[in-house]
Protein backbone atom coordinates (compact mmCIF):
# COMPACT_ATOMS: atom_id res chain seq x y z
CA UNK A 1 0.00 0.00 0.00
CA UNK A 2 2.73 2.45 0.98
CA UNK A 3 4.61 1.77 -2.26
CA UNK A 4 2.00 0.32 -4.61
CA UNK A 5 -0.32 3.34 -4.66
CA UNK A 6 2.47 5.85 -5.48
CA UNK A 7 3.78 3.49 -8.18
CA UNK A 8 0.29 3.27 -9.67
CA UNK A 9 -0.15 7.06 -9.55
CA UNK A 10 3.18 7.54 -11.36
CA UNK A 11 2.24 4.97 -14.01
CA UNK A 12 -1.29 6.31 -14.47
CA UNK A 13 -0.38 10.00 -14.66
CA UNK A 14 2.69 9.41 -16.86
CA UNK A 15 0.78 7.20 -19.31
CA UNK A 16 -2.15 9.64 -19.37
CA UNK A 17 0.13 12.52 -20.31
CA UNK A 18 1.78 10.52 -23.08
CA UNK A 19 -1.62 9.49 -24.46
CA UNK A 20 -2.88 13.07 -24.25
CA UNK A 21 -0.49 14.03 -27.06
CA UNK A 22 -2.22 11.58 -29.39
CA UNK A 23 -5.84 12.23 -28.33
CA UNK A 24 -6.98 15.80 -29.19
CA UNK A 25 -9.68 16.18 -26.45
CA UNK A 26 -7.03 15.42 -23.84
CA UNK A 27 -4.57 17.99 -25.20
CA UNK A 28 -5.18 20.47 -22.37
CA UNK A 29 -4.30 17.88 -19.73
CA UNK A 30 -0.66 18.98 -19.78
CA UNK A 31 -1.69 22.57 -18.95
CA UNK A 32 -3.99 21.40 -16.14
CA UNK A 33 -1.21 19.32 -14.64
CA UNK A 34 1.19 22.25 -14.89
CA UNK A 35 -1.29 24.25 -12.79
CA UNK A 36 -1.40 21.41 -10.27
CA UNK A 37 2.39 21.56 -10.12
CA UNK A 38 2.29 25.27 -9.36
CA UNK A 39 -0.15 24.74 -6.51
CA UNK A 40 1.73 21.75 -5.10
CA UNK A 41 4.95 23.80 -5.32
CA UNK A 42 3.53 26.32 -2.83
CA UNK A 43 2.82 23.55 -0.32
CA UNK A 44 6.33 22.22 -0.91
CA UNK A 45 7.52 25.71 -0.02
CA UNK A 46 5.47 25.52 3.19
CA UNK A 47 7.51 22.45 4.02
CA UNK A 48 10.75 24.11 2.92
CA UNK A 49 10.07 27.25 4.94
CA UNK A 50 9.04 25.17 7.94
CA UNK A 51 12.20 23.15 7.64
CA UNK A 52 14.33 26.30 7.46
CA UNK A 53 12.72 27.59 10.66
CA UNK A 54 13.10 24.20 12.40
CA UNK A 55 16.80 23.90 11.48
CA UNK A 56 17.65 27.41 12.66
CA UNK A 57 15.52 27.29 15.82
CA UNK A 58 17.22 23.99 16.76
CA UNK A 59 20.61 25.57 16.13
CA UNK A 60 19.60 28.51 18.29
CA UNK A 61 18.23 26.41 21.16
CA UNK A 62 21.29 24.18 21.27
CA UNK A 63 23.63 27.16 21.02
CA UNK A 64 25.53 25.53 18.17
CA UNK A 65 28.50 27.42 16.60
CA UNK A 66 27.43 30.58 14.75
CA UNK A 67 23.94 30.41 16.31
CA UNK A 68 23.78 34.20 16.22
CA UNK A 69 23.52 34.12 12.44
CA UNK A 70 20.47 31.87 12.74
CA UNK A 71 18.68 34.78 14.45
CA UNK A 72 19.53 36.95 11.44
CA UNK A 73 18.16 34.31 9.05
CA UNK A 74 14.95 33.90 11.04
CA UNK A 75 14.42 37.66 11.37
CA UNK A 76 15.06 38.12 7.63
CA UNK A 77 12.62 35.33 6.80
CA UNK A 78 9.92 36.69 9.12
CA UNK A 79 10.44 40.25 7.87
CA UNK A 80 10.03 39.42 4.18
CA UNK A 81 7.07 37.13 4.90
CA UNK A 82 5.28 39.88 6.82
CA UNK A 83 6.16 42.52 4.21
CA UNK A 84 4.94 40.30 1.36
CA UNK A 85 1.91 38.56 2.83
CA UNK A 86 0.50 41.69 4.52
CA UNK A 87 1.70 43.97 1.70
CA UNK A 88 3.28 46.38 4.14
CA UNK A 89 4.06 49.79 2.68
CA UNK A 90 2.25 49.07 -0.58
CA UNK A 91 1.45 52.35 -2.34
CA UNK A 92 -1.99 51.05 -3.37
CA UNK A 93 -4.43 49.09 -1.23
CA UNK A 94 -4.29 45.38 -0.37
CA UNK A 95 -5.51 44.52 -3.89
CA UNK A 96 -2.47 46.09 -5.56
CA UNK A 97 0.44 43.94 -6.70
CA UNK A 98 2.86 42.75 -4.05
CA UNK A 99 5.73 43.82 -6.31
CA UNK A 100 4.47 47.40 -6.69
CA UNK A 101 7.35 49.90 -6.65
CA UNK A 102 7.72 51.42 -3.21
CA UNK A 103 6.36 48.44 -1.29
CA UNK A 104 8.61 47.04 1.43
CA UNK A 105 8.65 43.71 -0.38
CA UNK A 106 9.87 45.19 -3.67
CA UNK A 107 12.33 47.51 -1.93
CA UNK A 108 13.76 44.47 -0.09
CA UNK A 109 14.24 42.80 -3.44
CA UNK A 110 15.85 45.88 -5.00
CA UNK A 111 18.19 46.76 -2.16
CA UNK A 112 18.80 43.48 -0.29
CA UNK A 113 18.13 40.37 -2.35
CA UNK A 114 19.24 41.64 -5.74
CA UNK A 115 22.61 43.08 -4.57
CA UNK A 116 23.31 39.92 -2.54
CA UNK A 117 22.39 37.61 -5.39
CA UNK A 118 24.30 39.41 -8.11
CA UNK A 119 27.36 39.91 -5.87
CA UNK A 120 27.36 36.18 -5.05
CA UNK A 121 27.48 35.43 -8.78
CA UNK A 122 29.98 38.22 -9.42
CA UNK A 123 32.22 36.68 -6.77
CA UNK A 124 32.47 33.68 -9.02
CA UNK A 125 34.37 35.83 -11.54
CA UNK A 126 37.38 35.64 -9.21
CA UNK A 127 37.09 31.90 -8.78
CA UNK A 128 36.60 31.49 -12.54
CA UNK A 129 39.88 33.38 -12.96
CA UNK A 130 41.74 30.83 -10.86
CA UNK A 131 39.91 27.99 -12.63
CA UNK A 132 40.97 29.55 -15.95
CA UNK A 133 44.56 29.36 -14.86
CA UNK A 134 44.23 25.61 -14.36
CA UNK A 135 42.09 25.02 -17.45
CA UNK A 136 44.20 27.21 -19.71
CA UNK A 137 47.37 25.21 -19.26
CA UNK A 138 47.72 23.41 -22.57
CA UNK A 139 48.67 20.05 -21.11
CA UNK A 140 47.38 18.00 -24.03
CA UNK A 141 45.61 18.32 -27.36
CA UNK A 142 42.09 18.39 -25.90
CA UNK A 143 43.00 21.07 -23.34
CA UNK A 144 44.64 23.13 -26.09
CA UNK A 145 41.46 23.00 -28.19
CA UNK A 146 39.38 24.10 -25.18
CA UNK A 147 41.84 26.91 -24.50
CA UNK A 148 41.87 28.18 -28.08
CA UNK A 149 38.04 28.05 -28.38
CA UNK A 150 37.51 29.86 -25.07
CA UNK A 151 40.16 32.45 -25.91
CA UNK A 152 38.67 33.22 -29.32
CA UNK A 153 35.15 33.50 -27.87
CA UNK A 154 36.40 35.81 -25.11
CA UNK A 155 38.39 38.01 -27.48
CA UNK A 156 35.72 37.93 -30.16
CA UNK A 157 33.23 39.64 -27.88
CA UNK A 158 35.51 42.50 -26.91
CA UNK A 159 36.65 45.60 -28.84
CA UNK A 160 40.23 44.45 -28.26
CA UNK A 161 39.62 41.30 -30.33
CA UNK A 162 38.25 43.43 -33.14
CA UNK A 163 41.21 45.80 -33.04
CA UNK A 164 43.71 42.94 -32.94
CA UNK A 165 42.72 41.51 -36.32
CA UNK A 166 41.29 44.58 -38.06
CA UNK A 167 44.28 44.58 -40.43
CA UNK A 168 43.18 41.30 -42.08
CA UNK A 169 41.82 42.12 -45.57
CA UNK A 170 38.10 41.84 -46.25
CA UNK A 171 38.54 38.80 -48.52
CA UNK A 172 39.89 36.85 -45.50
CA UNK A 173 37.49 38.43 -43.00
CA UNK A 174 36.54 35.00 -41.63
CA UNK A 175 39.93 35.02 -39.86
CA UNK A 176 39.10 38.21 -38.00
CA UNK A 177 38.58 37.16 -34.39
CA UNK A 178 34.95 38.39 -34.04
CA UNK A 179 33.95 36.50 -37.22
CA UNK A 180 35.89 33.45 -36.11
CA UNK A 181 34.05 33.55 -32.78
CA UNK A 182 30.71 33.68 -34.61
CA UNK A 183 31.73 30.75 -36.82
CA UNK A 184 32.83 28.71 -33.81
CA UNK A 185 29.50 29.39 -32.10
CA UNK A 186 27.46 28.55 -35.21
CA UNK A 187 29.31 25.46 -36.44
CA UNK A 188 31.63 23.34 -34.23
CA UNK A 189 30.00 24.56 -31.00
CA UNK A 190 26.54 23.85 -32.42
CA UNK A 191 27.66 20.34 -33.45
CA UNK A 192 28.91 19.61 -29.92
CA UNK A 193 25.77 21.12 -28.39
CA UNK A 194 23.60 18.94 -30.62
CA UNK A 195 25.47 15.77 -29.66
CA UNK A 196 25.00 16.67 -25.98
CA UNK A 197 21.32 17.59 -26.48
CA UNK A 198 20.53 14.37 -28.33
CA UNK A 199 22.35 12.43 -25.59
CA UNK A 200 20.38 14.23 -22.88
CA UNK A 201 17.13 13.69 -24.81
CA UNK A 202 17.70 9.94 -25.09
CA UNK A 203 18.71 9.82 -21.42
CA UNK A 204 15.54 11.65 -20.35
CA UNK A 205 13.37 9.34 -22.47
CA UNK A 206 14.91 6.20 -20.97
CA UNK A 207 14.74 7.60 -17.43
CA UNK A 208 11.09 8.63 -17.93
CA UNK A 209 10.24 5.12 -19.12
CA UNK A 210 11.99 3.62 -16.10
CA UNK A 211 9.96 5.89 -13.80
CA UNK A 212 6.62 5.27 -15.48
CA UNK A 213 7.15 1.51 -15.56
CA UNK A 214 8.17 1.46 -11.91
CA UNK A 215 11.71 0.20 -12.54
CA UNK A 216 13.20 3.32 -10.96
CA UNK A 217 11.78 3.68 -7.43
CA UNK A 218 14.41 5.64 -5.52
CA UNK A 219 12.16 8.73 -5.35
CA UNK A 220 9.91 6.83 -2.94
CA UNK A 221 12.65 6.68 -0.32
CA UNK A 222 12.57 3.91 2.25
CA UNK A 223 9.58 2.73 4.27
CA UNK A 224 10.67 4.53 7.40
CA UNK A 225 9.48 7.78 5.78
Amino acid sequence: MKRQIPLFITFFVGTLLILSVFIPPMETLGEDFTLFFDIIAVFAFFLGGGNLVRVHVTKLMKRKPDWGFSIVTLVGFAFILAAGLFKIGNPGDIASSVTAEGSWFQESFNYILNPLQSTMYALLAFFVASASYRAFRAKNREATILLVAAFIILLGRTPFGMALTAWIPESFSIFQIPNLAIWIMNSPNLAGQRAIMIGIGLGVVSMSLRLILGIERTYLGDDRA
Binding site: V13, D32, F46, P115, A125, I174, V205
Partner: protein, 207 residues
Protein backbone atom coordinates in the same frame (compact mmCIF):
# COMPACT_ATOMS: atom_id res chain seq x y z
CA UNK B 1 15.03 56.70 2.35
CA UNK B 2 16.58 55.70 -0.98
CA UNK B 3 19.94 56.99 0.23
CA UNK B 4 19.73 54.67 3.26
CA UNK B 5 18.72 51.74 1.00
CA UNK B 6 21.77 52.33 -1.22
CA UNK B 7 23.99 52.25 1.87
CA UNK B 8 22.40 48.96 2.91
CA UNK B 9 22.97 47.51 -0.58
CA UNK B 10 26.61 48.72 -0.53
CA UNK B 11 27.14 47.21 2.93
CA UNK B 12 25.80 43.86 1.72
CA UNK B 13 27.75 43.99 -1.55
CA UNK B 14 31.04 44.62 0.24
CA UNK B 15 30.17 41.98 2.82
CA UNK B 16 29.95 39.34 0.11
CA UNK B 17 33.17 40.61 -1.52
CA UNK B 18 34.90 40.35 1.87
CA UNK B 19 34.92 36.57 1.33
CA UNK B 20 37.78 37.15 -1.11
CA UNK B 21 39.94 37.92 1.91
CA UNK B 22 38.68 34.99 3.99
CA UNK B 23 35.53 33.52 5.51
CA UNK B 24 34.56 36.14 8.11
CA UNK B 25 31.67 37.32 10.30
CA UNK B 26 30.65 40.09 7.88
CA UNK B 27 30.29 37.58 5.04
CA UNK B 28 28.41 35.14 7.29
CA UNK B 29 26.01 37.91 8.31
CA UNK B 30 25.29 38.71 4.65
CA UNK B 31 24.93 35.02 3.88
CA UNK B 32 22.41 34.59 6.72
CA UNK B 33 20.41 37.57 5.47
CA UNK B 34 20.52 36.13 1.95
CA UNK B 35 19.17 32.73 3.06
CA UNK B 36 16.31 34.22 5.10
CA UNK B 37 15.26 36.88 2.62
CA UNK B 38 15.61 34.58 -0.39
CA UNK B 39 13.45 31.79 1.13
CA UNK B 40 10.79 34.29 2.20
CA UNK B 41 10.85 36.09 -1.15
CA UNK B 42 10.14 32.93 -3.15
CA UNK B 43 7.51 31.81 -0.66
CA UNK B 44 5.62 35.09 -0.97
CA UNK B 45 5.98 35.20 -4.76
CA UNK B 46 4.65 31.65 -5.14
CA UNK B 47 1.85 32.34 -2.68
CA UNK B 48 0.51 35.40 -4.53
CA UNK B 49 1.14 34.01 -8.03
CA UNK B 50 -0.12 30.48 -7.54
CA UNK B 51 -2.39 30.16 -4.52
CA UNK B 52 -3.99 33.60 -4.88
CA UNK B 53 -3.58 34.24 -8.63
CA UNK B 54 -4.21 30.81 -10.08
CA UNK B 55 -6.24 29.03 -7.41
CA UNK B 56 -8.18 31.68 -5.48
CA UNK B 57 -8.87 34.29 -8.15
CA UNK B 58 -8.07 32.53 -11.42
CA UNK B 59 -9.87 29.30 -10.66
CA UNK B 60 -13.21 30.29 -12.19
CA UNK B 61 -15.23 27.15 -12.87
CA UNK B 62 -12.19 24.93 -13.04
CA UNK B 63 -12.94 22.64 -10.13
CA UNK B 64 -10.07 20.40 -11.29
CA UNK B 65 -7.76 22.77 -9.44
CA UNK B 66 -9.11 21.41 -6.15
CA UNK B 67 -7.27 18.20 -7.01
CA UNK B 68 -4.04 20.20 -7.15
CA UNK B 69 -4.81 21.83 -3.81
CA UNK B 70 -5.72 18.44 -2.31
CA UNK B 71 -2.43 16.96 -3.52
CA UNK B 72 -0.62 19.96 -2.08
CA UNK B 73 -2.28 19.37 1.30
CA UNK B 74 -1.23 15.72 1.17
CA UNK B 75 2.35 16.96 0.79
CA UNK B 76 2.06 18.42 4.30
CA UNK B 77 1.36 14.94 5.73
CA UNK B 78 5.13 14.60 5.87
CA UNK B 79 4.93 16.64 9.04
CA UNK B 80 2.97 13.83 10.75
CA UNK B 81 5.41 10.94 11.11
CA UNK B 82 2.74 8.21 11.40
CA UNK B 83 1.08 9.06 8.09
CA UNK B 84 4.11 10.67 6.45
CA UNK B 85 4.02 8.06 3.70
CA UNK B 86 0.91 9.72 2.24
CA UNK B 87 3.14 12.59 1.13
CA UNK B 88 4.48 10.17 -1.47
CA UNK B 89 1.24 10.48 -3.43
CA UNK B 90 1.73 14.09 -4.59
CA UNK B 91 5.40 13.26 -5.13
CA UNK B 92 4.38 10.29 -7.30
CA UNK B 93 2.02 12.59 -9.20
CA UNK B 94 4.81 15.11 -9.85
CA UNK B 95 7.26 12.37 -10.88
CA UNK B 96 4.73 10.66 -13.16
CA UNK B 97 3.55 13.87 -14.80
CA UNK B 98 7.11 15.14 -15.27
CA UNK B 99 8.18 11.81 -16.75
CA UNK B 100 5.21 11.72 -19.15
CA UNK B 101 5.64 15.37 -20.12
CA UNK B 102 9.42 15.15 -20.60
CA UNK B 103 9.31 11.85 -22.47
CA UNK B 104 7.37 13.40 -25.31
CA UNK B 105 8.85 16.89 -25.22
CA UNK B 106 12.49 15.92 -24.93
CA UNK B 107 12.10 13.28 -27.60
CA UNK B 108 10.51 15.84 -29.86
CA UNK B 109 12.75 18.87 -29.19
CA UNK B 110 16.08 17.35 -28.13
CA UNK B 111 16.15 14.28 -30.33
CA UNK B 112 13.87 14.45 -33.39
CA UNK B 113 14.26 18.18 -34.00
CA UNK B 114 18.04 18.13 -33.61
CA UNK B 115 18.43 15.08 -35.86
CA UNK B 116 16.15 16.70 -38.45
CA UNK B 117 18.21 19.91 -38.39
CA UNK B 118 21.45 17.95 -38.75
CA UNK B 119 20.41 15.74 -41.66
CA UNK B 120 20.25 18.39 -44.36
CA UNK B 121 21.63 18.94 -47.86
CA UNK B 122 25.27 19.91 -47.36
CA UNK B 123 25.23 22.06 -50.51
CA UNK B 124 22.03 23.86 -49.52
CA UNK B 125 18.42 23.05 -50.52
CA UNK B 126 18.96 24.07 -54.17
CA UNK B 127 22.77 23.76 -54.41
CA UNK B 128 23.00 27.47 -53.73
CA UNK B 129 25.13 27.42 -50.57
CA UNK B 130 28.47 29.23 -50.62
CA UNK B 131 31.79 27.68 -49.55
CA UNK B 132 31.42 29.17 -46.05
CA UNK B 133 28.01 27.54 -45.52
CA UNK B 134 29.05 24.23 -47.07
CA UNK B 135 32.02 23.95 -44.70
CA UNK B 136 29.75 24.91 -41.82
CA UNK B 137 27.17 22.25 -42.77
CA UNK B 138 29.87 19.56 -43.08
CA UNK B 139 31.34 20.55 -39.70
CA UNK B 140 27.90 20.35 -38.05
CA UNK B 141 27.08 16.93 -39.57
CA UNK B 142 30.51 15.43 -38.81
CA UNK B 143 30.66 17.01 -35.35
CA UNK B 144 27.19 15.86 -34.29
CA UNK B 145 27.75 12.32 -35.55
CA UNK B 146 31.22 11.94 -34.01
CA UNK B 147 30.01 13.51 -30.76
CA UNK B 148 27.22 10.94 -30.57
CA UNK B 149 29.73 8.17 -31.28
CA UNK B 150 31.77 9.39 -28.29
CA UNK B 151 28.66 9.09 -26.05
CA UNK B 152 28.06 5.51 -27.20
CA UNK B 153 29.69 3.42 -24.49
CA UNK B 154 28.30 -0.01 -25.43
CA UNK B 155 31.22 -0.56 -27.78
CA UNK B 156 34.89 -0.21 -26.92
CA UNK B 157 36.43 2.97 -28.32
CA UNK B 158 39.14 1.56 -30.59
CA UNK B 159 39.85 1.27 -34.30
CA UNK B 160 37.73 3.38 -36.66
CA UNK B 161 35.07 3.73 -33.95
CA UNK B 162 37.66 5.02 -31.49
CA UNK B 163 39.07 7.45 -34.06
CA UNK B 164 35.57 8.84 -34.70
CA UNK B 165 35.00 9.16 -30.96
CA UNK B 166 38.31 11.05 -30.74
CA UNK B 167 37.06 13.53 -33.34
CA UNK B 168 33.88 13.81 -31.23
CA UNK B 169 35.97 14.73 -28.19
CA UNK B 170 37.56 17.58 -30.15
CA UNK B 171 34.14 18.97 -31.02
CA UNK B 172 32.97 18.59 -27.43
CA UNK B 173 36.10 20.40 -26.24
CA UNK B 174 35.28 23.32 -28.55
CA UNK B 175 31.75 23.37 -27.09
CA UNK B 176 33.06 23.33 -23.52
CA UNK B 177 35.59 26.05 -24.41
CA UNK B 178 32.85 28.22 -25.90
CA UNK B 179 30.60 27.66 -22.85
CA UNK B 180 33.50 28.44 -20.54
CA UNK B 181 34.26 31.65 -22.45
CA UNK B 182 30.63 32.72 -22.17
CA UNK B 183 30.51 31.90 -18.46
CA UNK B 184 33.62 33.99 -17.81
CA UNK B 185 32.10 36.88 -19.74
CA UNK B 186 28.76 36.72 -17.91
CA UNK B 187 30.44 36.63 -14.49
CA UNK B 188 32.69 39.52 -15.50
CA UNK B 189 29.70 41.58 -16.61
CA UNK B 190 28.03 40.92 -13.24
CA UNK B 191 31.22 41.98 -11.47
CA UNK B 192 31.36 45.16 -13.57
CA UNK B 193 27.72 45.77 -12.64
CA UNK B 194 28.47 45.53 -8.93
CA UNK B 195 31.55 47.74 -9.22
CA UNK B 196 29.47 50.20 -11.22
CA UNK B 197 26.96 50.25 -8.35
CA UNK B 198 29.67 50.78 -5.71
CA UNK B 199 31.58 53.49 -7.55
CA UNK B 200 28.58 55.04 -9.29
CA UNK B 201 25.37 54.79 -7.24
CA UNK B 202 27.04 54.63 -3.84
CA UNK B 203 30.24 56.69 -4.00
CA UNK B 204 29.18 58.85 -6.95
CA UNK B 205 32.61 58.59 -8.55
CA UNK B 206 31.13 57.50 -11.91
CA UNK B 207 28.68 59.96 -13.41
Amino acid sequence: MEHFAIWVAAFLTMGIFSFLYKDNAWYKLCEAIFVGISAGYWFVTLFWDNIYGKFWVGKGDDSMLYIGAFLGLLMLMRLVPKIGWISRWPLAFIVGATAGFYLINYFSSNVMRQVEDTIMPLLGPDYSAGAYDIIGNIVIAVGTFSGLVYFFFSKEHKGAFGATAKVGIFFLMITFGASFGYTVMSRMSLLIGRLDFLFGDWLGMIK
